[in-house]
Symmetry: C2
Subunit: 503 residues, 2 copies
C-alpha cells in the first residue's frame, strides 16, 4: 500500500475501484475532479461505466449526473459516455464520444461559465451532491488532501458531497506539494475581498481540509493524466501568433502596455503555443500569466527566464512536458500557483490584474459577436469554459482563429453568428492570419470593414454583399438582412460549404 | 452670484453657457455628467447645440463626441442630437431624437457595458478627452466638488480631460452633501480590492478632488433633472411583479434566501416599481439595494422601514419624488449611498454581495438568450446599460417583460433572439405575466417548455411548431431550424405582426 496515505483512518478505507463504485447509485449526482485532462480520477469512471453496463444488461436503469472542473479524458468522460452512464454533465467537456452523445440528444449538457460552476453548486442549482470523487497526490497525517495536477471545483464538491471517494495517484509527483494555494472564498452572505494583488500572491494553504468522516473509499492509481501530444505550429498558426504579437507591440506604442508588464491569459491549443514561442524571441520580459491552465509554452518561457510566474487551476501539458513537470516540479512550483477555479477565474481578480485575454472561437460576425461553442448554432463542440470570465474582465480581450476551416468550407467570419457566447459589447480584438481587427471604441458599422479585412479573401466579397443588403434595413445600429443572415450556415449544412450558394 | 462656489479662484470663472461653449471645438471629445436623467449639465448642451447650428448655418463642420454616465434628457442628448452636433456617443442613451438619429445612421453609438465605460475611457479606447462638463451641487473652499444627483463616470472624465467646465445647479439640494461616497479605484497596474463588504459601506470622501487649474469655465444653473412622471402600474405589471415575488418566496423555500437578506438590483420602469410596491406588503424586511439608480419605490420602502440602505450611482425619480428628495435629502442620505459607476456596477462587489438582479428585456429566445437592446436585430432602443454587469455577477439573474407588446404584434418570447446581449449561459429566470421560467441547472432542451409556458398563449403554438422543426436538426445541443429562425422578426418587419405568417 502506498505511503501516500499518511492518515491511518483513511488508509483503512483503501479498496478497489469496483468496490468503491458500490457507493455510487443510479441517479446520483457526482462532483468529480478533472480539468483539461489533468487531475481527473483514473479508476472510478471506468468502474462506474462497467457498473452501468451491468445494470443496463439486466434491463435496469443506471445513470448519474457528472459535474467536473472542466474536460477530463477518454478514460473518464469517454468511458462513461460510451456506457450511457451519464444523464447530465456540467460544465466544459471535450471528449469526442461525449460530444456525439450530447449532440444526439442521448445525454444532457449545461454549458456554464467556469467561474460560476462551483458557486452554482454551492447555491444548490444542481441539487444535492451525493458523492465527490477527487484525485489527490497525497493524504497527510491530519487527513488533509494535497492536490495533484489541478484544483478546479474540488473544494466545492468535497464540501457539498454527502460521501467522498479519493483516488491517490502515485504517477503524480510528490513535489507538486506547495504548488496549490487553497483559499476558500467565503460562502454567501459572508464574502469578503479576495486578497490577491499580484499574479503570484499566495493567500491560502497547500492542502484542502475535508471532513474525513465523509470519506467512504480510497482507491490507489498510477495512471498518467491525458496529455495531448504537442504539434509543431503550422504556418497559419505562426501567422496568427505574429499578428497577436503585432497587436501587443501596438499596445506598447499606444502607451497602454510596457515590455515588463504583460499579463497573459491564454486558451489552449496550437495558436497559443505559437504565441508563446513568439514571446520567447520578443522584447517582453517578466511576463506573467493569470490564466486557467499551464501549457508547454509557459514552461519554456519560465525556463528561458522570460516568465516569472503563472497562476492557473490546472495543467494542459504534452506527455513530454508532463514528464518534465513530474521530474522538476520542485523547480516549477516556485513559478506556478494552482488555485481553485473560483479564484483562477474570478472576475474580481481578473479585472484587478489588467490582463490581456486570448481565446479561440468558432466564428465571429461582422459586428464582433462571437460563437465559441456551437457549429451551425446547434452542434456543441466543447463549451464556453472560462472564456467569458476572462473576456468580460480583461484589460483587452482578443479572439483568435484561422480565417477558414475544413479546407475553406467554413469561414470564421460570418454575417450573423449562429450562436452567441460573447456579445458585440464584449469582444475587442479579432485576430486571424490576415491581421487583427481592433474594434475598441468603434460603433458597430465602423467595425464591419475591419472584420471583413481579417476574413479569408474568398469570403470577403460574400460578406460585402451581405453588408450591402443589410444597409437597406431602415434601422442602422447593427444593420442586418434577417432573410439571408444565416445563408452561410444553411449552405454549409445543405451543400457542404459556406460559399456554395443556391444557383 | 451663488454662494455655492466657495473657492474664490473658481468663482472668478463664472460665465454664461454661451461663453463657456467657446471652449468647445469641432471634433472635441466631451466627457459629460448625467445618468438616467439626473445630474446632467443643464446649460452647456443647449449652448453647444446652438453653436453647432451656427457653424452648420455657415457651412462649417461642427460635431463633438459625447461620453456620459448613461442617458441624459431632451435638453442634453435631445438638443445636441437635433442639432446634428454629435458624431459619436457612448454608453447608454434613451432620448427619442437621438435614437432616431442613430438608427438613421446620422450619428454613431457604441453600446458599452457601464462598468467598462469609465475604465475604457482611462485606458484611452476613446482617444483624448478634451473637455469634461460636469454638474455639481456645490464647490467647496478647497475647490472640491460636491456631486449633485449622480456620480456616473465623473471621476474619470474630470481626471482625463484637458479642460473642465462645471455647472453649479442651485435646483439640487445642498443636503445631498454626504450622500456620495467617492472612492477612486486605483488605476492599472495598481488596482487593489474594493473594500466594500456590505451594501452601505462608505469607503471614500463626500467630494471629488480635481485639478482646479484645468477648470476653464463655471456656469450657474437652476433647472430640474429630467424626472419622468410616475405611472400607476397597470394590471400586467402587477401580475409580473406578483410572479417575481413568487420567485423570491420560492428562493426562501429552497433555503437560498431569508426574509431579512434580500439584496435587490433593479432596472428602471413600471414593472420594477410594481415589484417595489409588492415588497411593501411582503414578509421581506431589512431589504437593501445594490443597484444603479434610486427609484420612487425605494424611497417608499425606506419610508416604510422595509429598506435599510440603497447603493446606486444616480437617481431616477418622478417629479414628485424628486421634490421630496430635495426637501428631505438630509433624511435620505442616511439610507442612500451614491457611488462612482466603476463601483456601483463593479463585478467584484456585485459577486461579493450575492444579489438578485432584475432587468427588463426586448425578447428572450427559447433557450434563454436575451435581447435587451435592438428591435428586429438592427434598431437600437436604449442600450445594455448595467444589465450585463449585474446579470453576470448576481446570485440569481432575472429578466422581466410583458409577454407581448404593441397589442400583441410583438412576442417577448421568440425562436431565436435577433440580437443577443445576455447569452444562454447568463440568464437564469425569465418572468412574464404568465409566470416565471427557472432555467437554472437545466440543459438547453429542458428550458424550452418552461420558456414557452411564459409566452403569450397566442404565440405558444407557433413556438412549439418552431421547436418541432428544430428537433429535426441532426445536432441537438440547442436545436435550431436556421431557415425559419427569424420568421417572427421577418413577419413583424414585413407584415406588421410576428404572427402574420406568409400564406
Amino acid at each position: 500500500m502506498s505511503d501516500r496515505i499518511a492518515n491511518s483512518h483513511l488508509r483503512s478505507l483503501v479498496m478497489s475501484a469496483e468496490e468503491a463504485a458500490e457507493h455510487i447509485n443510479d441517479g446520483d449526482t457526482i462532483g468529480m475532479s478533472g480539468f483539461t485532462g489533468a487531475a481527473y480520477p483514473k479508476a472510478l469512471p471506468t468502474a462506474i461505466a462497467e457498473k452501468a453496463k451491468a445494470f443496463h444488461g439486466r434491463g435496469d436503469d443506471f445513470k448519474v449526473n457528472v459535474l467536473t472542473g472542466a474536460s477530463t479524458a477518454p478514460d473518464a468522460d469517454g468511458v462513461m459516455a460510451e456506457a450511457d452512464a451519464i444523464n447530465f454533465r456540467m460544465p466544459y467537456q471535450s471528449d469526442p464520444v461525449m460530444r456525439k452523445k450530447i449532440n444526439a440528444a442521448e445525454m444532457k449538457y449545461q454549458d456554464v461559465h467556469l467561474s460560476h460552476s462551483g458557486l452554482q453548486v454551492e447555491q444548490g442549482f444542481f441539487g444535492n451532491i451525493d458523492v465527490a470523487i477527487v484525485e489527490v497526490a497525497r493524504i497527510t497525517e491530519e487527513g488533509h488532501l494535497i492536490p495533484s495536477s489541478g484544483v478546479g471545483n474540488n473544494i466545492e464538491y468535497l464540501e457539498e458531497a454527502d460521501k467522498i471517494i479519493l483516488e491517490v495517484n502515485s504517477w503524480q509527483s510528490l513535489d507538486l506539494e506547495g504548488m496549490a494555494d487553497i483559499y476558500r472564498v467565503p460562502r454567501l452572505p459572508n464574502r469578503t475581498p479576495i486578497p490577491i494583488n499580484n499574479v503570484g500572491d499566495r493567500i491560502g494553504t497547500p492542502y484542502i481540509q475535508i471532513d474525513t468522516d465523509k470519506v467512504v473509499a480510497i482507491v490507489e492509481t498510477d495512471a498518467p493524466d491525458r496529455n495531448s501530444p504537442f504539434k509543431e505550429p503550422d504556418e497559419v498558426s505562426k501567422q496568427i501568433a505574429g499578428n497577436f504579437l503585432e497587436f501587443l507591440e501596438a499596445e506598447v506604442a499606444a502607451g497602454r502596455l510596457t515590455y515588463d508588464r504583460f499579463i497573459m491569459q491564454s486558451g489552449v491549443g496550437n495558436v497559443p503555443n505559437a504565441v508563446m514561442a513568439g514571446l520567447l524571441d520578443s522584447k517582453f520580459e517578466k511576463i506573467t500569466a493569470y490564466t486557467e491552465v499551464v501549457q508547454d509554452g509557459m514552461l519554456d518561457l519560465i525556463d528561458a527566464g522570460k516568465m516569472t510566474v503563472a497562476s492557473a487551476t490546472s495543467f494542459a501539458l504534452s506527455p513530454e512536458y508532463a514528464d518534465k513537470m513530474n521530474r522538476e516540479a520542485k523547480k516549477y512550483r516556485e513559478h506556478l500557483v494552482l488555485r481553485p477555479l473560483q479564484i483562477s477565474n474570478s472576475p474580481e481578480v481578473i479585472r484587478r490584474m489588467g490582463l490581456i485575454a486570448s481565446n479561440g472561437m468558432i466564428e465571429a460576425d461582422i459586428y464582433g459577436n462571437i460563437n465559441s461553442t456551437q457549429v451551425g448554432g446547434s452542434r456543441i463542440m466543447n463549451g464556453i469554459g472560462g472564456s467569458g470570465d476572462f473576456t468580460r474582465n480583461a484589460f483587452a480581450s482578443t479572439f483568435i482563429s484561422p480565417s477558414v476551416a475544413k479546407d475553406g468550407a467554413i469561414s470564421a467570419i460570418v454575417p450573423f453568428a449562429s450562436h452567441i457566447d460573447h456579445t458585440e459589447h464584449d469582444a475587442m480584438v479579432i485576430i486571424t492570419e490576415y491581421g487583427y481587427a481592433d474594434l475598441r471604441g468603434l460603433a458597430p458599422r465602423d467595425r464591419v470593414a475591419k472584420m471583413i479585412s481579417v476574413a479569408h479573401p474568398d469570403y470577403r466579397p460574400l460578406l460585402e454583399e451581405y453588408y450591402e443588403r443589410a444597409l437597406k434595413n431602415p434601422h442602422q445600429q447593427t444593420p442586418h438582412d434577417l432573410r439571408t443572415a444565416f445563408d452561410f450556415h444553411i449552405n454549409l449544412a445543405e451543400r457542404g460549404s459556406m460559399n456554395s450558394f443556391e444557383s
